[in-house]
């Protein structure tokens, strides 16, 4: 019986690890999915928007600890808002200065945004140094919950999970229940007709891009609770994120969630049985194989391009 409960505990912990990976992956993929789904634009600098969010949180944390220590338990919520705002504004500028000139050349967008990511990485390195930094977490984020003797669930993981659920819910509401969401979905499905019925598709594009970047910023804020931040932290996840979006099927929120879950759980389970790098190889290969058999992704909606 004790063997059984131990096995159950391992299973629960392993499942929880998978869920943590799932949350980070989903938070990053959400922003990318609405950008890629609507505009067909590949934003290689998406990981750097995550880093922007993470560094913003770090700034908030160090400002709080040095100027207003009493404020420390609450700063994190303001940091999340700040991360969103800054990433949103940078995204808006990038769309205005770079992306909108390249809409007809998606492959070139890919190269240009890669260049942008290099520039941003170096900018982070010059500003914050090459060493990894980490935000001082408020006390209530530390520690863990123990539902039973052998299960140990960290609170920061739960917090990230809650944030992911709230954010996904808000995005779903925004996309499917608001005027703006209606415009976005119309533009995704048929850009020319949307223009014909009076939707300013250019404006929808710009806001969508900025919003996607802003979500990446929130992902970055969440990221600081489970890891430290370096200039290249964001780019580590970029390929996984792209595979998540492509596997989910472009322009499908449910697909993105499903594929992030699949990839994360596969990786976490594989990591239990073998070396971490082999688990990654196995997961990525599986995704590539699935994409070779089903290029349109798991869930796909009809889109007129």
């Amino acid at each position: 019986m004790s063997w059984f409960s131990e096995f159950g505990a391992i299973l629960a912990m392993q499942g929880f690890n998978g869920l943590s990976v799932f949350c980070v992956l989903l938070l990053m993929a959400l922003g990318l999915a609405i950008i890629f789904g609507q505009m067909g634009v590949i934003n290689m600098a998406h990981g750097e928007f995550l880093t922007i969010g993470a560094y913003t949180t770090y700034l908030f944390s160090s400002l709080t600890t040095s100027y207003a220590p009493a404020f420390a338990p609450y700063y994190f919520f303001f940091a999340i808002a700040g991360a969103f705002l800054i990433a949103f504004c940078v995204g808006y500028l990038v769309e205005w200065g770079l992306i909108r000139h390249l809409y007809r050349r998606p492959l070139d967008t890919l190269l240009a945004t890669w260049g942008l990511s290099l520039v941003m990485q170096q900018a982070f390195r010059s500003t914050f140094g090459a060493k990894e930094v980490s935000a001082t977490l408020p006390d209530w984020l530390m520690g863990s919950v123990k539902p039973s003797e052998s299960i140990d669930i960290p609170i920061n993981g739960l917090f990230v999970m809650g944030l992911t659920v709230i954010l996904t819910g808000m995005l779903a509401l925004l996309l499917y229940r608001s005027q703006w969401g209606l415009r976005v979905r119309a533009t995704t499905q048929n850009r020319i007709m949307s223009g014909a019925v009076g939707i300013n598709t250019r404006r929808v594009d710009r806001i969508t891009f900025a919003l996607g970047c802003g979500i990446a910023g929130i992902a970055g804020a969440a990221f600081t609770t489970i890891g430290s931040t370096g200039p290249t932290s964001g780019s580590l996840y970029i390929v996984d994120t792209f595979l998540t979006v492509v596997l989910g099927g472009a322009a499908s929120l449910a697909g993105t969630i499903a594929s992030a879950f699949t990839i994360a759980q596969t990786q976490a389970t594989a990591e239990f049985f073998m070396h971490g790098s082999m688990a990654k190889v196995l997961t990525l290969s599986a995704v590539v194989l699935i994409l070779m058999m089903r290029p349109q992704g798991l869930f796909s909606i009809k889109v007129r391009r």
Partner: protein
């Protein structure tokens, strides 16, 4: 003979371009640069193979592969495995617990040679593997993707994922591949010391000759029907399909050709540099190789060589002098080239330098004419001069070969 002249050498202008490149590579650089810089240049020439392959595959075929490092690395690793086995003969490795296997295997407690290392004991099999392994992988990827009409951005992302997979795999399987450090301490190729200065010169010249041969092959391909179809596919894939062509086969073909170019470059790279490591396989090197082609001009085979040399000299210069500015330079280059000069150096040459040269030549001819009070149509002047100057678009070339795209 005439068709060879026109299709392979690219007429008068094309021949001139090849001769200029050959003169720079074979006459100017070896005498202007010291052996250290020349060996750097030899390294860059290996990257140029990849860039030339990308011009065919991306510029003409419209297929942006972000995984060329995979083929470069596979070619390089095949060559490195042969050299490593030769360098670790039982005599020189007798201090190991298992003599006769590469040193990193010994460090990782591997006691016998893995099966896939066996073919690399023979040079002919190695040369075959250098070409066959990358070509086969490209063929499999190509068939799997293009037959299902995966294209554009999706294809790029999948190739990028493959680059990540291969580099993680190589790093993870340290005992069999040498891990992060790669395969190092390579000494001889079939008994010939590759580390001496004379060997460096010979390998440099060999790379140059092979590169120019590759460019001529690329020109032949572009001038042939396949080249026309590739361009047509890039611009209007559906129409080519409706005309009865199997689009996927042509895409697979050009992707395999690009992979072969990269593999040859990788093998020569190993020979010249003396090691091979996963840092030439992953995502970052693969996408950098694309920028070489983009800077040179994605439609120009020769431009790709100049682009590669320029970016790499820039990289070396900046990382030696201003290491912190290097990424700004590289990132700025990506953005600038894509936004302002999509056709790269070659595009600038065609739109600005060549017309300017033609105008100057026209002006000089007119100046020469006026003092002699010659009539405008003089039978003693070569007829080409009067034909040439009014057509600034095709300078240095008769109107006999109209071309869709500049191919030099």
């Amino acid at each position: 003979m005439k068709t060879i002249y026109r299709n392979v050498l690219g007429g008068k202008a094309g021949t001139l371009d090849v001769l200029v490149l050959a003169a720079i590579l074979f006459a100017v650089f070896p005498f202007a640069l010291d052996p250290f810089r020349l060996s750097l240049l030899g390294k860059y020439l290996c990257y140029a193979f990849v860039a030339v392959g990308l011009v065919l595959c991306w510029g003409y075929g419209g297929i942006l592969s972000l995984g060329q490092g995979v083929f470069f690395g596979l070619g390089g690793y095949c060559m490195a495995m042969y050299l490593k086995l030769e360098a670790s003969d039982p005599v020189s490795t007798k201090i190991q617990s298992t003599p006769g296997i590469p040193d990193f295997m010994d460090w990782n407690q591997i006691t016998s040679l893995p099966w896939f290392w066996e073919p690399f004991k023979s040079l002919p099999l190695t040369v075959i593997a250098v070409l066959l392994v990358p070509a086969l992988l490209a063929f499999i990827i190509g068939v799997a993707m293009f037959k299902r009409r995966v294209k554009d951005v999706y294809f790029s992302i999948v190739t990028q994922a493959i680059a990540l997979i291969l580099s993680v795999l190589i790093i993870g399987q340290q005992g069999m591949t040498g891990g992060v450090n790669g395969i190092t301490d390579l000494k001889t190729l079939h008994g010939w010391d590759i580390r001496s200065d004379s060997a460096k010169y010979i390998l440099y010249y060999a790379s140059g000759v092979l590169l120019i041969a590759g460019i001529l092959f690329g020109r032949f391909l572009i001038a042939s029907k396949v080249g026309k179809l590739l361009l047509a596919m890039r611009d209007k894939e559906e129409r080519v399909r409706f005309s009865g062509y199997d689009v996927a086969n042509f895409k697979v073909f050009v992707f395999v050709v690009a992979a072969l170019f990269a593999a040859v470059g990788g093998a020569l790279f190993t020979l010249q540099v003396g090691f091979m490591s996963p840092s030439f396989v992953g995502i970052v090197p693969s996408i950098e190789m694309v920028i070489f082609a983009a800077v040179g001009g994605r439609m120009s085979l020769i431009g790709a060589v100049y682009g590669t040399l320029l970016v790499n000299f820039g990289k070396t210069y900046f990382s030696e002098t201003f290491p912190s500015l290097w990424l700004y330079f590289m990132g700025g280059l990506f953005i600038l080239v894509v936004m302002l000069f999509p056709n790269g150096i070659a595009g600038l040459m065609d739109s600005h330098v060549r017309p300017w040269l033609a105008r100057r030549r026209g002006a000089r001819l007119r100046n020469a004419e006026t003092p002699a009070d010659a009539p405008p149509v003089d039978s003693s002047l070569p007829g080409t001069a009067t034909v040439r100057s009014p057509s600034p678009l095709a300078p240095g070339e008769g109107a006999s070969t109209p071309r869709v795209q500049p191919a030099h």
